[in-house]
Symmetry: C2
Subunit: 123 residues, 2 copies
DNA sequence: TGAACAGTTGAACAAGCGTTCATATATATT
DNA sequence: AATATATATGAACGCTTGTTCAACTGTTCA
């Protein structure tokens, strides 16, 4: 159900803006949706995970490969891969002792590219 | 300058994957670029800031308006607006006592929309 | 000038997060 | 069965972060 307009009890200035505030309130997506969105971006908000995703966008790799590539411990990489797995951003397949990881989402690249545009504009 | 291929000293399996690892290494963007990208997503990784950005995408609003809209203290909103300002995501203008904030980046909506696609796919 | 209002800022606190270390699991090899 | 390799996991540790509280700045109006 849509959010209903309701009496404002804030600053004086907001009383004047009542119409606008209520209009924005109606247009806002569901609380839960915005929360999920923040959770997704939180996952992107770590350079180790960004690097992992970027690497996996180039090629399927095993945990050990990624650790060498990023010059980090295998444990640290494994922990981060779990986060990425739980966010449905990567998938894995086992081949003997080796577990290969790959991207599980084709939007990642587009999201990153949009982000890069902003980053590069700041110069 | 591009990253150079270098001898692998990791797990046995990575020695086998040496060619791939070095290929990915060459294709990775600069360390600093990936760091900046993570910093940007870190800003998006908080539901309060997501809500503020979403609201400002609908209409220019003053600090007090946002506080009422999100049912939070004005101080908390002001702190978050500072973060958004420092990331060049919002701008402000003063009109008497009131400071109005608005979006300062047209990519935000596109980044959010891409994120929403992922979020909605998980169902 | 002084009171009221809108917003900002710094310190403090709890909660969350990323890495490390030690250990556990799973598979392959001998 | 015992060993080695590849990965996963839990606890612990320091660091970061979001909110609150109190104090401060800046503007308007009487």
């Amino acid at each position: 159900m849509a959010n209903k307009a309701r009496p404002i009890e804030g600053c004086d200035c907001t009383v004047i803006h009542e119409v606008i505030v209520n209009l924005v309130r109606e247009k806002m997506p569901q609380e839960e949706t915005l929360y999920d969105l923040a959770e997704l971006f939180k996952v992107f908000g770590d350079s180790t995970r960004i690097k992992i995703l970027w690497a996996l966008d180039e090629a399927e790799m095993c945990v050990c490969d990624i650790a060498v590539l990023l010059n980090m411990t295998q444990s640290a990489i494994s922990h981060q891969l779990r986060v990425l797995r739980q966010s449905n951003l990567v998938k894995n397949r086992r081949e003997g002792k080796v577990v290969y990881y790959s991207l599980d989402d084709e939007h990642v690249r587009q999201i990153f590219n949009q982000g890069l545009i902003h980053v590069n504009e700041e110069k």
